[in-house]
């Protein structure tokens, strides 16, 4: 890692829906400055992967985040305080986002975002 002059943004994708997960990974891997280093179905696994892989950005499905307790989301944060969480609203209802913003999560990305907007949201989160 230290040998690379411009390090890529390392992303962990936490997404319970297989179709959305595959789509997100396919889209992100097309950007040369972004690298998906791990994928997870649920938050418990995500906390372990965050600790082991040290991602820069963690994308979490809004519906999944809404179902999890603050403690579970806190565990992900505690696994790596430097990681930034990006909420992905893909199949989730619009109302779930409102309840989550303002907690530990600052950024979100809407489901009808295009390729460039999704990558931009990742880059913004990593800053």
């Amino acid at each position: 890692m230290s040998t690379s002059p411009s390090r890529r943004i390392r992303v962990l994708v936490v997404e319970p829906h297989p179709v959305v997960r595959r789509g997100l990974v396919a889209l992100l891997n097309r950007h040369s400055d972004i690298e998906v280093i791990g994928e997870s179905f649920d938050c418990a696994d995500a906390a372990r992967l965050t600790r082991d892989l040290l991602p820069d950005v963690i994308t979490i499905d809004a519906g999944l985040a809404a179902r999890e307790t603050a403690a579970t989301l806190g565990a992900i944060r505690a696994s790596n305080a430097d990681a930034h969480i990006l909420l992905m609203c893909t199949l989730a209802r619009e109302t779930t986002v409102e309840t989550l913003l303002g907690s530990d999560i600052a950024a979100y990305c809407w489901k009808d975002a295009d390729d460039g907007e999704i990558a931009a949201a990742i880059r913004r989160s990593a800053d």
Binding site: P18, V19, R22, L24, A26, L27, D114, D115
Partner: protein, 208 residues
Amino acid sequence: MDQSPIRLLVVDDHLIVREGLVSILNRQPGMIVAATAGDGRDAVEKYFDISPDVVLMDLNLPIMDGWASMAAIRARDPNARIVAISSFGGDQDIQRALRSGASGYLLKDSDAEEIVAAVRSVNKGLRYVSPEPAAALAAGIAYEPLSARECQVLELVARGHSNKEIGAALALSDSTVKWHITAILSKLRVDDRTAAVTLAIERGILHL
């Protein structure tokens, strides 16, 4: 071994979902995504451009919805093989899709294995409804369907209108509106208007 691959048209307005479906299907041996479309009208055009073996079609689409798009495709090609894939799980959504020409029905949270199984079945000319929508269909059969007029009344109820306002909007007397509402509650087997609206949305009778 030398069989030609199943050529697919993937239709979804959301890029992430479309990419996910393409990635899943293209990784399968014997399957290839020949084209994608982002709305229902585009889907009809692409269908007749490339003549795919199977279409994977979202229902909630801009410009022309998935039900109308399937009907347009089947009107010109009655043998078109279409799998509907939607986040709508209400029995009325599923029934409408099957009536519009879908041979298969999947929910959007399906895994790769299920999507591939549906495509293979429908490609063989079989029907494929995954367990959750199948259960919703089975439960929905027990209900007597609402008439077109009852659906109109219920939609106005859902929008918060009083009986008097509904009567004015549909040019019906107060007692006729009441009579329709009684029939709606009885057919949906609920006790009040709120429960009727909730159930109607859940079953896909209403989309607000």
